[in-house]
Amino acid sequence: MTDTELRIRLDGVSLCYRLAKQRIPSLKEYAIHWMRGALSYEKLWAVRDLSLTVRRGETLGIVGRNGAGKSTLLKVISRVLKPTTGKAEIHGRLSPILELGTGFDMELTGLENVYLNALLLGRSRREIDARVGDIVEFSGLGDFIRAPIRNYSSGMQARLGFSVATAWVPEILILDEVLAVGDASFITKCTDRIREFHDAGTTVLMVSHSAAAVRQNCSRCVWLDAGRLRADGATEEVLERYAHAGTEPDQRAVGHLHLG
């Protein structure tokens, strides 16, 4: 395989959130604590020493329990967070959907938000002008596109967000649990689009708690556990191991959160 095929290379990536033991939201308190020599931090390593290589056209599912570091990993790959240690090499244009509707302005109409959102993704006005018709059509929002977004349901926002973020074929598409909202017909549409992207050579990374969604969209899967890579391989195989581990008693942290 040539190097031009390389999309993502993480080399010993760790990411640490430094949580102040005392909440220090102000300069005044900071100064007081600093003078007392009482500044202590709790280090929370969300991702630990993780190495991973993803190539062009791969579809990678990421599974793991809540708090395993999945979303943090996606943020590192999306260049939102810089790794504390290690190296993250990302090649190619990203289309990260870490949360549907990020950057929407509730006061603006759907159409105005299409522009705002695409601009935030780094598109130029001219590029958007050329695609705005397709975006609106794919969203299936019809006349609602002229209404302020605060009147939208979360499903409608999800439709618009996905339509904008996938209006251009990116080199890397990143999806964090975004297929969970939206009705069945829209999810089918999204799945079709992801497949089209895959055929066009896009590398797809998706976090999902739905084994079915991972199975349907991804040929490769990694399992994150407490910030470490626990397994990396064919989807079926990894999902099976993960499912077995899930029945073991180590669900303590999130066990009672499984309400729905």
């Binding site: 959130y17 430094r18 939201p25 102000s26 300069l27 005044k28 900071y30 943020k75 999306s78 260049r79 939102v80 967070l81 810089k82 990203l94 990260p96 870490l98 949360e99 990020t102 950057g103 302005d105 006061e107 603006l108 522009y115 705002l116 601009l119 935030l120 993704l121 780094g122 598109r123 130029s124 006005r125």
Partner: protein, 254 residues
Amino acid sequence: MREALKYRDLVRTLVARELKVRYRRSAIGFVWTMLQPLLMMLVMQLVFSAIFRVQLPNYSVYALAGILFWNFFSQSIVASMNSLRGNAQLLQKLPVPKAVFPLATVISGVVNLLFALVPLFGLLLVTGHSLAPSLFFLPVSIFLAALFTLGAGLLLSPLAVFFSDVVELIGVLLTLLMYLTPVIYPQEIVPARMRWVVHYNPIRSILEVFRDPIYLHKVPPLSHLTVSIAIAALAFGLGVWVFRRSSDRIPFYI
């Protein structure tokens, strides 16, 4: 900063949105931008000519020009500081160059300043202060003021993310700074032993480059202009440097 240039369409949209919010909220929002400095000027005129007995020819022009400059400077700084915090959610989810937010804030401040120049020109006509050709120098003055302000905004906005009380603290410091700068009072009323404070105040230098063409009908002398350019460039450079160094840490704190 180079990245922000690539995102210029985004910056333009953010500026338009900021202006729209400002002017849509209240029907007289637009009028208010012009009226507020005028009212402020009347108050200053009352205070300085009636109470302090300051004799300065055409004080109203002097004060209004100063107030417009100061409003631009202080409002842009406070707004830049809030711009990153206001977009916290976004900065944790999208790899947007963070500098676009303070940049858009300062640019919309410039647009507001341009609107506010209209009543100033009106005042020039009304008071018979005449519209001198030196006014054509104003774009240069405004550019320098914007560069200086952007530098200060870039310097302070990450700090406002790390510590939430910095915004209030800077608010107080800005008030102090206003009184250390001859914005509303003539430099001559400062006692001789205190004059060095005003003299070495870098903002005074930027302010004079803005006010001289309006009030004194003259383009600032080259020596003074050079100093002002150096100050603005230094502030901008320092702001960019600090912003770049702290930029990676911003998403962790909001």
